[in-house]
Structure formats: structure tokens, C-alpha cells
Amino acid sequence: MIFLLMVAGYLFGALAALLFARGWVARWLTAAGAIIGGACAVTLAVAEVFGFDIGSFQIIVVLARRPWWLQGGVIQDPAQPLSAVFLGVVGAIAIPAALYSIGYTRAWEGRRSLRMPGAMLNLFLLSMSLVPLAENILWFVLFWEGMAVTSYLLVMTEAEEPETVHAGNWYLGMTQFGLGFILAAFFLLLPPDGSGDFTALAKHAATLSPGLKSLVFVLALIGFGSKAGLVPLHVWLPSAHPAAPSHVSALMSGVMIKLGVYGVLLFGLRLLGGGPAWWGGLVLTLGAVSALLGVLYALMEHDLKRLLAYHSIENIGIIFIGVGAGMMFLSYDLPALAVLGFVGGLYHTINHACFKGLLFLGAGSVLHATHTRNMEEMGGLIKRMPRTALFFLVGAAAISALPPLNGFVSEWVVFQALLGGASIPQREVAVLMPIAVAMLALASGLAAACFVKAFGITFLGIARSHEAEQAREAPVSMQVAMAALALACVVLGAAAYAMVPALGRVVAGLAGLPPASAVTVSWSLRVPLSAPGAVGQISPLPILLGLALLLVAIPIGLWLSRASRALRVSDTWGCGRIAQTPRMQYTAAAFAEPLRRIFAALYRPTEDVSIDFHPESRYFVQSIAYRAHIIPWFERYLYDPVIDRVIAWAARVRAIQSGSLHAYLTYLVAALVIMLGLLMLWGS
């Protein structure tokens, strides 16, 4: 029922966009459809995860005649809480994103019709909601590809810019690349009777040889990893996400790439039912590498949205660290720890969806106000758009894993899982854990640095450009959307007591994990959060309250102690120089300079500084131009060679079409002769 309402909502939104195309009616109706859909999705998910009964939402699509691939239900029985989590994530971000779009797309009036973007937005949401619910190959792949197409079209919304087109090509290419692997993985599991239902696949998978299982898993990991943006399959992500309209970026970064995580879990746990330790190890390693490289590249970005996109890679890495650890523990039969790992991964999935969504919306408002994504042209926005600044600050703190916000809590759970890794019997394997811990810690530290840069350069200091000076606060709808997500960041942090047990129940029972009873923790304000297997305990809510209390208490204390309350506003101290100009400020490039030097081995920065001096004396500099480039390792050494090779081959093959009729006829006869030869070869 609610399920049908969800579908109806999205379809309604799409239809509204198609019908009205422009004007406030279109904007509101489109958003309304998405919001209805999202709300239903959240309802379904919450009911499922927290075990309220709202009745089963299984439906079967009935066709006049069903070809092979339509056998079996489309939408699963809510017996799959794992899917419900991802469904919930989709809905949870869909609502604010849709709300945001109302204000965001107003700027399009007159320039661009809402028809395509609006319809695609809703269809995108619909297909994303249905992916985790699909119960057989066809439907999964159909929605998966639907998701790809709609998002591709959304990325192409602002195709006037050539880089958008470029990004779109990369995106579609990587999508198709991934699809190939996913199809292979699925079809290798195909049972003899050809039924594509997941239950059947799982049953058949149990009979397969370990080698084949591993092959399937690796294929799936590559396929879904390319969607999730795991290094080195991430190249499309930093260009595609920023190219899209900001509320879409929020959805892509916050939600879509998470479905890659779902895919890995689907295969690793549900279809293949767990595997050898090296599966987990592989996932863990890839995760750690992605986390570190993601943030390192983010540090070098001065394009606000690209920076955020790189952070998506980092956080996906963190999620995969949790998942990978879980899989390893599973293979070593440490169920409690395994649950902890998976819970950490899932929890971070949800949290990242919130704060990354929030940050992209924030970046969108900045873009909306300044018409640029280049941080070097911003600054001082906190005075012009204070609320946006506040929300962005919350997001920045959350993604930097600062307590008591949600980012910290989920990273804490992951940390705990890794710490537990010490109890892996094989020492040489267990040593993997501290390494992961170190990389995770470094990543979060660098993330903090990176967001000091992102927030500081963007919002603080003096405006660096005319646009920044003229910036205006975002419309109310956009503010409300951001506020909702900011609130979610706080609540999700404080509600760990509720989340962790619930997520524990979600993974419970999968692939030989312990049943729900083993992982549930009754929740109350007082009981500290101590997941089974964790070697520590924290209570985020008291931390939150305590900090709030202190923040109130300190001023009161000062007041009581009659400290001076005098305050004088004056210029910033400029080393004795009188007037302070924006050019005296630290820039984003300068901020990242120390780290660029320290990690020069990775970046291989090439800097060119061009100084032109005052004609009279070389002691007076007129202007300095400083440019620094870093080596895009993966593009240059992994992808470009392949592409060049293909192009070279293509040139050779096109030479076949030489234009000479005689050559053509010769091909024909040659083909005949070869075929006759094959006949001799195979005939007998």
C-alpha cells in the first residue's frame, strides 16, 4: 500500500514536470511528488528496521505473458531489512533534496525548462528506491540501469559547458564498464533452470566451487566498486558529481554510490553467503586506500563541489573498511565483531548520506549565490549568508568526525571493530587491522584539515571577488532543506543507542551471522552504547548534552566572575600595514601548501611561479602568478594507456575499409576460403 503510494508519488512528480515544465506550479508539484515518495520510502524502511508492523508490502507485477526474466516477484517481502536500510537512505535524502530543488531551480526560470530535470529527478529517485527492493536479476539490472540513465541525463542538465559533456561521457562509460562486470557476476550464478530469483541464485551459489565463487565476488566487487567510486575505479566521480545540479549531486554522492555498497553486501552476504578471509581483506584494503587517496586528492581541490566529491570517495572507503572488516571476522567466525563491522559500515552509510547531502546542498547555495565553484573567488560569505554557513559548518564538523555529531559515532564503531581485529587468530592477518586503523585515523585527521580549508576559505575572511561581496542568502526552501539535514546529523549522532541495535538486527542472520537476539541492546539514555564485541563504550547523548551545558555555563561563569565585557571593533593587525586587502589573506592553495609538500611523493606537484617586478626596482613586485598542478596518477597511467591503445587499434581496423573494391572482394573470397578451412577443421 505505502509502497504503491511511493511509486505513485514519484511518478506523479515526473508527470507534473513533464506537463508543466516551468513556473512555480511545476517546481512545487515536482518536488511534492518526490517528497511523497521519499516519505513513503522512509516509512517503509523505518517500519522494517525498527520492526513496527505496517503490513507486508510485497507486490507481484502481473504481465499478460511473462518472458523468462519476469518470473518471480519484483518487490521483495520485507524479510530483507538490509534492503530497507538503503531504501530508507534514498527516501531520507530525497525529501530535503526535493525541497531544496524548489528554490534551486527557480534560478532556471526563463533559461531552462524543468521538464527533463524534474522528470528525471523523480525517475532517478524511483529507480534508486527500487534497486534494493529488486528480487531477481532482471529487475535489479533494469532499475540499476534506469538509475544510471536518469542520473546520466541529470548530469547532462548543464551540457552547455564542455566539461559537463566530458564528465557525462566518462560517467556513462564507467557505468557500462561496471554493468558488464555485474552482469557477469549475476549470470555466473544462474541456476540450470534459469530462474533469476535471488533466492534461487543463493541456493545455486551454495553448490558452486570456491574458485568460481571467488571469481563471482571479485567481478561483483569491481562492478559495484565502480559505482561506489572505489579507487582506482573512481575517476568518473569527481567530474560527474559536480557537473550535476547541486541537489542531484547531493543525491548521487549521498545515495547513489551507496547502492554500490548494497551490491557488495548483496553478493558477499546474501548470494554467496560469505567467503574466505581474503575477500574481506581485499575489500578492507581497497577501502583504506580509497579513504586515504580520496582525502589527499580532496585537499588539493579548489573547486568546492569537486572537493566534496573526493570526500565521497574517502567516506565510501571508510564504509568499505567497516564492511571488509565485517567480512573478515565472519570468515574467522567472530560473529559479534563481524556484526560490529557491518553495523559500522551501514551506520556510516546513513550518516554520510546525511552530511554529504547537507554539504552538497550548502555548496549549491554558495554556487547559487556566487555563480562560481572556485573557492579562491569566495570568502566572507558567513556574513552574507549566515544560515547557510551555519549548516555547512555542521556538515563540515560531522564529516570531520568531530564529536558529538554522527560522523564521529559511526567512525567510532568502525574503529572499535578494527580494534577488535586483534583477536583474529592469524597474526599476519591481524596486523592488517592496526594499519587500517592508522590509515583511517590519518584520513579523518586530513579530512578535518581539508574542511577547515573548505569552510574557512569559503565562508570566513574577506570576500575575494565581486560576486562574493554581492552574495545573497539562499531562499527559504533551500534553508529548510539544509536545516533538516543538519538536524539529522545531530540526531543521528545522539541516537546511536537506537541506531546500532537496529542495524545489528538488520545484518543479523545474514550469511551465518548471529540472530537478532544476540545483537540487540535495549536502549535508554543512561545505558551507554556498547555494542557486543566492542572493546570500549561511549554515550554520545551525554557528550552532546555535556558540551551544550558547558557552552552555556562558561559565559555564565564569566558573568558571575565579573570578567570585563568590554568589546572594541578594530582592524585586523596587518604587520603595521594600514589597509587590509583580500589579497593579504591565506588562499586555499596556500592553506594546502604544507601538505602538498609533505605528500609530494604522491602529488609530484609541478609549480610555476611567474613574478613580474616593478620596472624601477626588483625589490617591488607588481604581480605574482602561482600555478601548481599535481599528477593525476590513475588517469595518466591506468586509463589513458588503455584508451590510446583502443584508439590505435581502431585506426588499424578502420583501415580495412580502404576504399578499394578489389580489396573488398578479396576479403569476401578470403572469408570463403577460411570458412572452408574451418569446415575441414571442425567438420570431421
Binding site: A64, W69, E145, A650, Y664, M675
Partner: protein, 486 residues
């Protein structure tokens, strides 16, 4: 039922006669032709209905004509694309690029072209089928240089020579098959009937039939545009007027493939399916590879479409080599491709009329210059790339599935890689045309809006196939598959 059949094949013939006899050329001729083609389409659909009801009617001396699910499937495709071409082709008075003489020529030969193809797919006698396929070459070759230019003449010469040689080889195959049959069952009129061949097939001599099949595959493969016999195809498709390209790419290739299918069924029974499957897989893969790599860095959009036709024919060929599942995929693909390519080539015609160039580099801002055309063009591209919600997505999917189900994982890996290359190449190229600003001197805004209606219908059809809106079509498909995989 006989009447229906006569309508199906007769209507185009009448259209041709009308166009030939009425002088001077009147606009009414074009309209009449279009109406007649529509009539023929209606007849095809009616026939399909009757076949669905369980009939497999036969006509002519010693049953040389026969219609079963497979042939009616093809007949519907042919008459559909023919109708498209007739409605959007020259000679309806809207377009100034054609002289009345050219219009007449187009009307005559396109109708004959359709007629021969319909004969080919409804022939029971494989020799008649051969005659008809050979005739398609004759009928279409003269249309390629509708605008006489060095390029178009060259293309038509290459087409006619390569085509004829190939078809001649197919006749060798036919003769060999007949040779074998005659020494089994003695001479009789019905000897060359597919039905009697089927009946005798199990006891035929494997070696002869294998040899025959090689000639058949090479021969008809030439017409189907399988590499390395494909070389005539890009030239012909690129130089021919858009409606003809649509017919050639949309259904001519399919008809040639149909001939191969007919023979394959017989040979499977005589030789066992292992050998024919292998031969088809080899050719299919070769075509796929050549086409995919030729798409990379292709500079003209009509040639781009032509190569993509080769790619898709190759896919169907691979599918035919993969047993029943593959056959299903191939036939589904065939239908989808017919609709998609018909639409695409007609759209390319509109683009050519507007931009006066076939170079992709010189076409830009299509979406702005012609919103609907550009939109449909983009949609068609996505469809050809095998993305939902278009039908080719399903046919591709079931093809890959068939490959894995029949235990050809490596083959499928190769296919997937090639498809990736093809898709990326195509979309990357097309995007250049779609966006940006139209070059100076190109008029903005759709012209001839009515001409868009059939094309929109095509797109709708593709989506309908994609969303599994099958029903009767599904049944027909299943029947056809039963025939192919006896």
C-alpha cells in the same frame, strides 16, 4: 487469408506500377504509395493475427509460398519500415530537394524493394527466397545514386558487385542443398521447399550440407553485412537517401539474416548444431569487433549508424549461435533494431536536410536547432546503446544471459568489452552533435512537424518493447523461437 496475403505482397507491387505508369509524376502517386504501404502493413498484422490463431497458410504451385510465425514476424517488420519510408520519403510534395523524376524513381524502386523483401520472407521455396534476395540488390542498387555524385555512384557499384557475388555464392549453397536432397528423394517440384528440406534433413549427408552452409553463410552474410563481407554496407548506407538507408539497415539486413536462419534450421538437423553455431559465432564476433572499433573515431554520423548496424547484426548472429535462449534474444533484437534503425536513419535524413553535411564535426546544437529531432536522435542513441527503458536493453540482456547459460563466459566477456567500446564511442560522438550552439546559417526550429509523428511513434514502440508491453508480440516471438530452435 489468401486475400490478406495478396494485399501484403501485392500492395507494394501496385504502388510501383502506379508510380511507373502515371506520368507526369503527381503528388498523389506518393500519397497512393504511402497508403498502399500502410495497407500492406495492415495485411501483415492481420496475417500475424491469423498465424497466432494457429494457421500456417501456404500458396502457389507446390506450396512455394508459406507463412509461419518467423516469416510473419519479419513481414511485419519489413512492411512497417517500408511504410515509414513511404510516408517520409520523397515525392509527397513537401521537400524541394528532389525532382519529380527522382521522386518517381524512388517510388518505383522502393516499392519494388519492399515487394522483393516481402517475397523473400514469405517464400517456402528456398530458391525463390534466393531469387527474391538477389532481386533486393537489383531494386535497391539503382536508388543509391538518387542524387548522382561520384560518391553515390561508387557506392552503388560496390554494393551491386559485392552483393551479387555474395548472393551468387549463396546460390551455390542452395544448389548443393538441392543436389543432396534430390539424391535422397529424387526430383520433384517441391524439392526446394523449406518444409520438404526440413522433412528430409535428418537423413541428409552432413558433409554436403556443411559445405552448403558455408556457401550460404558467406553468401547471405554478405547481404547481412557480416564482417569481413560488410565492406559495401557503410558506403551504401551513407550514400543512399535516408528512407532507403532506413529500409536497408532496418530490414534488408534482417531479411538476409532470415535466409541464414532458415538454412541453419535445416543444417542443424542434418549436421548437428555444433558446427553451424561455431561458424555463426565466429562471423558474429568478427562483425562485432570490426564494427565496434570502426565506431571509435568515426567522423560521419550516417557511417556511424551504418557501423552500428553491423555491430547489431553481429550481435544477432552471435545470438543465433547460442541455442534457443540466444535465438530468442536475436529475434527480439532484430525487431527492436529494425524499429530503432529505421527511426535513426530517417532522423539523420532530417539532420542532413538542415545542416547539409554528414560530418559530425560540423553539426552542433542539434537540440537547439531541432528540439524534437534532436531529442529523438538522442533517445535512439540511448536505445542503440542498450539502455532502458528501450527494448534493446532486454535483448542485449537476454543475449548475455544466453551466452552464460550455454557456457560461453569468455565469449561473453569479449562481447561485453566490444559493446562497451561501441557504446562509449557512439555516445561520445553524438554528444558533440547534440549540444552547443547551432552553426551560423542553420535555421532554428522544426520544419515539417507532421513528418515527426511516425518517428515519435517509433520511439514509443521502442519504449513499449522496453517496458515489456508484449502480450501477443511475446507469443509470436516464442513461436518464432520454436521454429528457429527445432
Amino acid at each position: 487469408m489468401r486475400l490478406t496475403y495478396l494485399l501484403l505482397v501485392g500492395a507494394p507491387l501496385v504502388a510501383a506500377l502506379v508510380a511507373a505508369l502515371v506520368r507526369p509524376y503527381l503528388r498523389g502517386v506518393g500519397v497512393a504509395g504511402a497508403l498502399l504501404s500502410t495497407l500492406s502493413l495492415a495485411a501483415a498484422l492481420r496475417l500475424a493475427g491469423q498465424v497466432l490463431a494457429g494457421a500456417t497458410p501456404t500458396w502457389g504451385p507446390s506450396d512455394m509460398m508459406r507463412v509461419d510465425a518467423l516469416s510473419v514476424l519479419l513481414a511485419v517488420c519489413v512492411s512497417f519500415v517500408a511504410a515509414l519510408a513511404a510516408w517520409l520519403g520523397p515525392g509527397l510534395g513537401r521537400d524541394e530537394h528532389y525532382t519529380p523524376a527522382q521522386a518517381r524513381r524512388f517510388r518505383i524502386f522502393s516499392s519494388l524493394f519492399a515487394f522483393t523483401m516481402l517475397i523473400a520472407v514469405t517464400a517456402n521455396n528456398v530458391a525463390i527466397m534466393w531469387v527474391a534476395v538477389e532481386a533486393t540488390t537489383i531494386a535497391s542498387a539503382l536508388l543509391i545514386p538518387l542524387h548522382v555524385s561520384k560518391a553515390s555512384v561508387e557506392a552503388s557499384w560496390k554494393y551491386i558487385l559485392i552483393g551479387s557475388v555474395g548472393i551468387a555464392l549463396a546460390f551455390v549453397g542452395t544448389v548443393l542443398g538441392y543436389f543432396d536432397y534430390v539424391h535422397l528423394a529424387g526430383e520433384r517440384e517441391s524439392a526446394l521447399n523449406w518444409t520438404s528440406l526440413m522433412a528430409a534433413a535428418p537423413s541428409m549427408h552432413p558433409r554436403v550440407m556443411a559445405l552448403a552452409f558455408v556457401f550460404i553463410v558467406i553468401g547471405y552474410g554478405t547481404k547481412a553485412g557480416l564482417a569481413p563481407m560488410h565492406t559495401w554496407l557503410p558506403d551504401a548506407h551513407a550514400e543512399a537517401p535516408a528512407p532507403l538507408s532506413a529500409m536497408m539497415s532496418g530490414v534488408l539486413l534482417a531479411v538476409a539474416l532470415y535466409a541464414i536462419i532458415r538454412w541453419k534450421v535445416v543444417v542443424d538437423l542434418a549436421v548437428g548444431s555444433a558446427l553451424p553455431d561455431r561458424l555463426l559465432l565466429v562471423l558474429g564476433l568478427a562483425s562485432l569487433a570490426v564494427a565496434a572499433l570502426s565506431l571509435v573515431g568515426q567522423r560521419q554520423y550516417k557511417r556511424l549508424l551504418a557501423y552500428s548496424s553491423i555491430e547489431h547484426t553481429g550481435l544477432m548472429c552471435v545470438g543465433l549461435g547460442l541455442g534457443p535462449l540466444g535465438a530468442f534474444a536475436a529475434l527480439l533484437h532484430l525487431v527492436n533494431h529494425a524499429v530503432a534503425k529505421g527511426m535513426m536513419f530517417l532522423l539523420s535524413g532530417r539532420i542532413l536536410d538542415r545542416y547539409h553535411t554528414t560530418e559530425m564535426g560540423e553539426v552542433s546544437g542539434l537540440l537547439r536547432a531541432m528540439p524534437v529531432t534532436g531529442g529523438l536522435f538522442a533517445a535512439g542513441m540511448l536505445a542503440l546503446a542498450g539502455l532502458p527503458p528501450f527494448g534493446i536493453f532486454f535483448s542485449k540482456l537476454s543475449l548475455v544471459r544466453a551466452g552464460f547459460a550455454t557456457g560461453h563466459p569468455w565469449l561473453m566477456a569479449l562481447v561485453l568489452v566490444l559493446l562497451l567500446a561501441a557504446v562509449v564511442a557512439m555516445l561520445a560522438q553524438i554528444n558533440r552533435m547534440l549540444y552547443g550552439a547551432p552553426p551560423a546559417g542553420v535555421r532554428v526550429g522544426e520544419s515539417n512537424r507532421w513528418g515527426l509523428v511516425p518517428l515519435v511513434l517509433c520511439a514509443a514502440l521502442l519504449v513499449a518493447f522496453g517496458l515489456g508491453g508484449f502480450g501477443a508480440f511475446q507469443t509470436l516471438l516464442d513461436r518464432a523461437v520454436e521454429i528457429v530452435s527445432r
